[in-house]
């Protein structure tokens, strides 16, 4: 790959050379035309003055320049050569038929001839065309010479100017080179030539996105590390209590609590992994058409035993074949499981949790409704934040459930809405998918 500088140098210099040569050719043509006019006039003058032999000889010989060498031949009325300025006795050119200008070829040379009738004979004045051409070419070449001599200087100027014009590019390259994953500040757009402005602005957009992605990843890792401390602290404390237990029955109890805390830590780690998966690697979905009713049935069946233990009445409302979406079944099951998790936890013993599948304004939707305490209006915007735990939640959850729900919903272009349950109590979480035409 040639550098821009080389390309410009070769292109501009080559162009200048071609132009100069073209100008030379044009100049030659013009010069030739003008020379022809001039010499033709001269031939005519010459023919008019040719009358006395002595003067003629002199005149002819005075013209030493072979290019202007003029051949004079005079014919009498019988067609015999009366005079020739050439040294040879035979005529160089044949007698032309008509008076006036013409071109004659003789001895492999082209001649410009002017003929004039006089005293019944013909005065013929001729000049070699090649001489005229040589003259024009000589003048044209001489006038081009300074241009050709200037070419190297022009090349040098092009080289320097192009180099200076490309300086902002190398400055930009240096500026980009100074960026690192730790410091992705935007490249200042001031002082950039207008041609680079779109590049700089696109680059800054990219840097901003990259910085944002990196920052959110860093924040996630920091949050995750922080959040892991609570269950680990609980584990460690419980382990120490188990060690201190004075008798077997208390030790038994302590160990069962230890299991509970271990389960919670495991749950948190799983939720963290899920959260990371939906937040940072949205690729790799296995999207297929599916019926939300199947999903609801599967989700409820999975959690039924859990619901029984908690004393919650869990069920599905709706029918098969109405709410069809394109999506990843496993991901959507994760979404539903998280919603059911929250609903079952908050519904409490004697409560009810419904999973409803329906069309909502033509859009397939799945709604999970519980009869728990609900979420106060002012908290609703925040519950989707990572690690946010509701004020009434009691702190058992990972604080990631709804954040994961939103992550999965986002990969399906679905929206999540929080609302009140039936008769204003409890919570209804609705996940609305785009209407089928939008999927196609």
């Amino acid at each position: 790959m040639k550098t821009i500088r080389h390309k410009l140098l070769i292109g501009l210099l080559g162009g200048a050379l071609v132009c100069t040569l073209a100008a030379g050719v044009a100049m030659y043509a013009k010069l030739l035309e003008e020379a022809n006019e001039l010499f033709d006039y001269q031939l005519r003058q010459f023919a008019a003055t040719v009358s006395e032999r002595d003067a003629l000889r002199q005149t002819v010989h005075a013209k030493g320049d072979p290019e202007e060498n003029i051949l004079v031949e005079i014919w009498d009325d019988r067609g015999a050569l009366r005079f020739s300025s050439s040294q040879t006795p035979a005529p160089v050119l044949a007698q032309v038929a008509r008076p006036g200008y013409s071109i004659t070829v003789a001895h492999g040379e082209r001649w410009r001839v002017y003929a004039e009738r006089r005293d019944g004979g013909m005065v013929q004045v001729a000049q070699a065309v090649a001489g005229r051409e040589r003259l024009a070419a000589g003048i044209a070449l001489r006038s081009l010479l300074p241009f050709l001599l200037v070419m190297p200087i022009l090349g040098l100027i092009i080289y320097v100017v192009v180099g200076r014009s490309l300086l902002p590019l190398s400055r930009l390259a240096q500026a980009v080179g100074r960026r690192s994953p730790q410091a992705l500040q935007p490249v200042p757009p001031e002082g950039q030539p207008p041609e680079l402005a779109p590049v700089v602005s696109a680059l800054n957009d990219l840097l901003r996105q990259l910085d944002h992605a990196l920052a959110s990843q860093r924040a996630f890792v920091a949050d995750a590390a922080h959040e892991l401390r609570s269950p680990l602290t609980a584990l460690k404390l419980q382990l120490q209590l188990a060690e201190r237990a004075p008798d077997d029955s208390q030790r038994q109890l302590a160990f069962s609590k230890l299991h509970e805390r271990l389960d919670r830590s495991t749950h948190l780690v799983q939720q963290l992994l899920a959260s990371a998966r939906y937040e940072f690697s949205p690729a790799g979905r296995r999207v297929a058409p599916l019926d939300l009713f199947d999903l609801a049935q599967r989700g409820v069946a999975d959690r039924y035993a859990d619901a029984c233990v908690r004393g919650v009445d869990l069920g599905v409302v709706g029918q098969a074949g109405i709410a069809l979406v394109a999506g990843d079944f496993d991901d959507l099951l994760v979404l539903l499981n998280n919603l059911l998790d929250n609903a079952l936890r908050h519904a409490g013993a004697g409560g009810q949790v419904d999973v409803e599948v329906a069309l909502d304004g033509g859009c397939p939707a799945i709604r999970v409704t519980d009869t728990g305490p609900g979420i106060p209006q002012h908290e609703r915007a925040r519950v989707f934040d990572r690690f946010y735990r509701g004020e009434g939640g009691g702190g058992w959850g990972s604080g990631l459930g709804l954040s994961i729900v939103r992550g999965v919903a986002a990969t399906h272009a679905a929206e999540v809405q929080l609302g009140d349950g039936p008769d204003g109590k409890g919570l209804r979480v609705a996940v609305r998918f785009p209407s089928p035409p939008a999927l196609a």
């Binding site: 922080h226 401390r229 609570s230 269950p231 680990l232 602290t233 609980a234 584990l235 460690k236 404390l237 419980q238 120490q240 209590l241 201190r244 609590k257 509970e260 805390r261 919670r264 735990r389 004020e391 009691g394 702190g395 058992w396």
Partner: protein, 220 residues
């Protein structure tokens, strides 16, 4: 000794509470900033264990408010926030000590003992008074160099009366120091404990100030 545990994580709170009760402290446990503020308004606690990340009102807010109101109990912050700046901020907000999660129960207990000792103005770990020695770390008691077998409440009652000695403490106050909210108290529980202690230490070791409460005299 009665402690207030402010911890929003139910599992951590449960474990710490259990551990503290096993160490014979009376423990009340609250889970959010507002309840913490309400509980701290009662000036019965010898020590407050404070988590910083609380719902409704942050631990530091609770602490600053408490100190502004003139609350004097020792406050031990237990938190997962471990940067130096956060420790400094915690201590400067009025905390007496700072413990980063996850921690050992032993260390927590040792720090609690040290804080309680300092609040009583002692520099030695044992309470020694008129022949009675109470080791607060091991909960062993001695009278005239012979081991004294004291049930948890009697030990705690004696510790309250001796730390420092010479102050008259009302029966209601003693009940508060000995029992958490969740525990049922018989109306004459304190009297019964005092009765048992007198049998072990001599009738005049604990004196009754009629209509006011009990007192262990400074000297013979």
């Amino acid at each position: 000794m009665r402690l207030l545990l402010i911890e929003d994580d139910p599992m951590i709170g449960e474990s710490i509470g259990e551990g503290l009760r096993a160490e014979r402290y009376a423990v009340d446990w609250v889970c959010d900033g507002n309840s913490a503020q309400l509980a701290m308004a009662h000036d019965v606690y010898d020590l407050v264990l404070l988590d910083l990340g609380l719902p409704k009102r942050s631990g530091l807010q609770v602490l600053r408010e408490y100190r502004k109101q003139g609350g004097a109990a020792k406050v031990l912050i237990m938190t997962a926030r471990d940067s130096t700046a956060e420790r400094v901020e915690g201590l400067d907000s009025g905390a007496d000590d700072y413990l980063v999660k996850p921690f050992d129960l032993d260390e927590l207990f040792a720090r609690i003992r040290a804080l309680l000792r300092r609040s009583a103005g002692r520099v030695v770990p044992n309470i020694i008074h008129r022949g009675v020695t109470l080791n607060l770390a091991t909960h062993e008691a001695f009278f005239e160099s012979t081991p004294l077998h004291l049930p948890a409440r009697e030990f705690a009652l004696l510790a309250v009366l001796l730390d420092p000695p010479g102050q008259v403490i009302s029966k209601a106050r003693l009940e508060e120091k000995l029992y958490g909210w969740s525990e049922r108290i018989e109306s004459n529980a304190v009297d019964v404990h005092v009765h048992h202690l007198r049998k072990k230490l001599g009738a005049d070791f604990i004196r009754n100030v009629r209509g006011v409460g009990y007192l262990v005299g400074k000297d013979e």
